[in-house]
Amino acid sequence: MEKRVVFKSPWLPYALVAPQLIITLVFFFWPASQAMYWSLLIQDAFAARTQFVWFDNFRDLFNDPRYLASFQITAVFSVLVTFIGLAVALLLAVFADRVVRGARVYKTLLIWPYAVAAAVAAVLWLFLLNPTLGVVTHLLRALGYDWNYLLNARQALILIVITAVWKQISYNFLFFLAGLQSVPKSLIEAAAIDGAGPARRFWTIIFPMLSPTTFFLLVVNIVYAFFDTFAIVDAATGGGPVQATAILVFKVYQDGVQALDLGGSAAQSVVLMAIVIALTVIQFRFVERKVQY
């Protein structure tokens, strides 16, 4: 016997999914299709002259060795931001989960950085690390280490990774903490009685049970690193030195908003969109299989 519920009304199911569909259409498909259309155009800033140029914008992009180099920078940046961001947040969440006294204050303080705008976060870190004014710079100099991200590519990358991670840790922390609190205490206690130490309990029970949260955060953090970090780069390094911190989304912003090359910028957005769609598909197909719900 079939127990499926079937809608009798022909229009009710459509009406029920309509809000979701409309939101997706208006806020995703419409802008995305606009970007695709724009990527085939060359237009002056005031839209007085528009030419349809087929794939010229893409050809220009992929003929530019610097654009290709920007892929590598973006890959390194995204992996670092995602991995460090998740690892540190998990560590903090595990500690916070064990804290009994003052837990609320501690948790609240950890959530604060999420309320800081990206550009402001970059400026805060600049105050610490600026080669001329930075407090930490003077400490490092005193220790004999020459900190100057204006000319040192690796240091510039470290600076934007630190800032991007710092800003995202709060978000990750919240989810990890909620995940940890939903791990049944009985399981952990049983393992403890069986003689499993804290590390073993963590890796064999807690970490696998957190995997849905971890997977969700993995997807969110990669998207964050790809799309949401241009303000940090803009305020901290401007893409330099030379091109060391020019991640893909920063170039989209720079060419489109600052330099008004809308066609070229749209082409870059389309490439970026393709990458993120591909990454998300890969994550859902291959990583999600290891997730235990």
Partner: protein, 441 residues
């Protein structure tokens, strides 16, 4: 007081209120989008308020719309949406984009002629008006805030190094000698520069009367090619690179960031905008002075004149032609010697008209503030040539980024000056071709 009287009073009040209301309706609002922050924002608001108080028909509303690139993008977006502001302040880098926008912009010389407002391009400083004029010498936008490059020196650091601050270095070789002595006296940094592309290449080329780009630096047409990889520029950038290796020149950032290294006393000399005067005055805890931008004595024709930076006011095309009258009246007010002289004295930007310059002289501004007129003297040093009128390059924002990137590869020792400037020219030319493609029919 009887009731008849009070009725009369009420009627009178009602009548005058009505009169006020109709008067308020008749006032045409003119929106002025700008990018001036802090104290400059207040001064811009004050100019608008004073203009509004001076007449009854128009009301100028000054609105801060973000940094230069942001307000320009906002104005273009508003234009594309069919609802442009009347006046927008655009930085010099955006000049070619604005100029290429046929039909979107109302040229200022046309506006003033149509509205029969007195207007003479020759009233403006040559180096200012030439930057914003078309090939036949007509001003397309209204000059507003202009600055140029000067050398600032730290008197105290000079004395400590055994140098005479009253006799600042005049040429680049003298700058190097002074920087070496500053280093020897224990200074962390001898010399640095703000706005490296603007100071060390753009204005440097004009100051030495060598071309930055073909077609009179882009004034002659869109089919322009960069040529700042000539021997004079290569020699200078290579010198800076060599001095960087010796620690005499220290790179401190692409834009205005290096200024902090001077005001904190770390660097004894800086070449940067004359508009930094107020900032240094407020923050430097040592004796300092302004000096003329250095040059190479062995380059023929140097020093020529420096070029400007800053912004002008652009009038966007209006559906309501009534607006133009008010905009023209506001521009006449804005360029009056009194307003300009006050703007100059309050901000440190150069006075854009010769009359304002004369007024500042008679008021004794330059005896009160020594060195405050060096910027104007540099700009008016000689009549501008094809190499020193200014720059009109499409996609200039990207070209500046490219120059910044390539110069950083010199300072970090990855490339020599020749390789970096050749690469910058090649990459910049691709941007110019792209702009030409987008802006020709």
């Amino acid at each position: 007081m009887n009731s008849g009287n009070s009725k009369l009073v009420r009627a009178m009040i009602a009548a005058s209120l009505l009169a006020l209301a109709t008067q308020a309706q008749a006032v045409t609002e003119i929106q002025w989008w700008h990018s001036m922050t802090g104290k400059l924002n207040d001064i811009v608001g004050e100019i608008a308020t004073n203009f509004n108080a001076s007449q009854k028909d128009y009301k100028v509303t000054a609105i801060y719309k973000g940094q230069y690139d942001e307000s320009m993008t906002a104005a273009i977006a508003a234009y594309r949406a069919g609802n442009p502001p009347q006046i927008v302040q655009v930085f010099e880098v955006g000049t070619a984009t604005m100029m290429a926008a046929k039909g979107a912009v109302k040229p200022v010389y046309q506006l003033m002629a149509e509205q029969k407002e007195p207007f003479d391009s020759k009233a403006f400083l040559g180096a200012v008006s030439s930057y914003y004029s078309d090939t036949s010498g007509h001003l397309i936008s209204m000059p507003f805030n202009s600055s140029t490059q000067v050398l600032y020196i730290n008197d105290d650091a000079f004395k400590k190094a055994g140098l005479d601050p009253a006799n600042p270095p005049k040429t680049w070789p003298e700058v190097e000698q002074a920087a070496a002595k500053l280093k020897a006296s224990g200074a962390a940094c001898g010399f640095t520069t703000g706005w490296q592309s603007w100071v060390q290449l753009e204005s440097f080329s004009a100051w030495h009367n060598v071309p930055f780009a073909t077609q009179q630096n882009g004034f002659g047409g869109l089919n322009t090619k960069l040529e700042f990889n000539g021997p004079v520029q290569v020699k200078h950038i290579q010198n800076l690179a060599d001095w960087a290796k010796k620690g005499e020149f220290t790179y401190k950032g692409r834009k205005d960031e290096p200024l902090a290294a001077f005001t904190s006393g770390e660097c004894g000399m800086i070449t940067t905008s004359s508009g930094s005067y107020a900032n240094i005055k407020a923050n430097a805890k040592f004796a300092w002075r302004v000096a003329t931008l250095p040059y190479y004595a062995d380059v023929k024709g140097a020093p020529q004149n420096t070029i400007i930076g800053g912004a002008t006011l652009w009038v966007l095309n209006q559906k309501d032609k009534e607006m133009y009258k008010g905009i023209a009246k506001f521009f006449t007010y804005l360029s009056s010697p009194e307003v300009q002289e006050k703007w100059h004295a309050d901000t440190g930007y150069v006075p854009i008209t010769l009359a304002a310059y004369d007024l500042a002289k008679t008021k004794g501004l330059y005896t009160e503030r020594p060195g405050f007129d060096i910027a104007i003297k540099e700009l008016t040093n000689k009549p501008p040539t094809a190499n020193s009128k200014g720059l009109r390059l499409g996609n200039f924002v990207q070209i500046r980024n490219i120059i910044d990137e390539e110069l950083e590869s010199v300072w970090s020792g990855q490339k020599n000056a020749k390789q970096a400037l050749d690469a910058a020219v090649k990459r910049g030319n691709e941007q110019l071709e792209r702009f030409e493609k987008a802006n020709s029919n």
